[in-house]
Symmetry: C2
Subunit: 186 residues, 2 copies
DNA sequence: TGTACCATGTAATTGGTTACATGATTAC
DNA sequence: GTAATCATGTAACCAATTACATGGTACA
């Protein structure tokens, strides 16, 4: 099974959704760690239905196009449950900015410092966005993760990874920019 | 141009290499942030040569197969130089373990904790490996990054990202595992 | 005798992005 | 009017992995 299939099943374990709804989840917030375009989602839903992991029924709407609402089957639920505690298939890391850092000696140091300052700003921005979500979760779901509902804890755990990632990434950008500045005077 | 092309040009800016040499660099250490298999590298070299960014000459070897050694051209050097300070093309984040974290409420908490403990171990291991390289660099290239040769600083900067990433990832795994344990008693 | 390494390629398949395609409603 | 959102699909293309293919040398 494709990881995208599990991403879809994971969302459908929480609630029934249309292809369009899934598309929006795959932009945000799920897209923060697993993204997909609608052109990938619609065929994936068809395949999952063929495999018996989801079913759909058409919901007719006034003043809006009709939609297909998908629900997970018992077999689908069993499939995600098995997948979720298995070790992830090791994925090759590909980070273009780190590749640029590795090649930065080819560049003009001022232009290089500017690049890392700008990237720092972008990661700080994303960090602040995640932190706002964290505050919202704490206000609405309670301060302590140990006592949150289990599905909410899961959402919070994923968010925590985003916070750590962006914080550390921004710090690295800041460090690279600072060292590039220092090198000019040494 | 493909990012893989720039990865190859970046390596060839440092020294002349054969396709096989490039393959090994793309396993480690470059593979820590940009990996490729030999089946991608050989066609890429052909394309880069067609585009005039690299040239090759055949080196005949006794007791070993002959090899094609590639060198970067002036036009290739100009191409990397331009690429290196441009902002990276935004890449969709895809982290299967975070997706599993988001879905962890579906699982048995003990099996879930075991998954995150094991992943913590793996990231700690990778961290220790990076830290050994860091010690080697400091011993051989000097303690202060500001005074390293510029190409060595670039290598060190990329390594620093690896260290930060693994340290933070391991910490997150530890946090998830701990919270899962705590939830059992609450 | 078998495994690992050197050395270079192609073919098939999968996963993902971009582009093509259509059409209604709502808000500015 | 026109842009945004709702709603669902297909086609073309690109990037990357896996598998297919060959053959010599070194070493245990």
């Amino acid at each position: 099974m494709r990881t995208l299939g599990y991403a879809v099943l994971s969302l459908l374990s929480r609630e029934d959704l249309s292809g369009y709804d899934l598309k929006r989840w795959m932009e945000r917030p799920l897209g923060y760690f697993w993204s997909a375009r609608h052109s990938q989602i619609y065929p994936e839903l068809a395949r999952l239905e063929e495999e018996g992991f989801v079913t759909h029924h058409v919901v007719e709407q006034r003043e809006r196009p009709d939609k297909k609402v998908y629900g997970i089957t018992a077999s689908g639920r069993e499939a995600v449950r098995e997948w979720v505690t298995e070790p992830p298939s090791s994925q090759a890391t590909r980070d273009e900015l780190v590749l640029k850092a590795y090649s930065i000696w080819l560049a003009d140091p001022d232009a290089a410092a500017a690049l890392f300052e700008e990237q720092e700003r972008l990661h700080e921005e994303q960090l602040r966005h995640y932190e706002e979500i964290e505050v919202w979760m704490q206000d609405n779901w309670g301060e302590s993760p140990e006592r949150m509902d289990f599905d909410r804890f899961a959402s919070y755990a994923a968010l925590r990874r985003g916070i750590g990632y962006e914080r550390d990434y921004a710090e690295w950008c800041r460090w690279v920019a600072a060292k590039l500045e220092e090198r000019r005077s040494v």
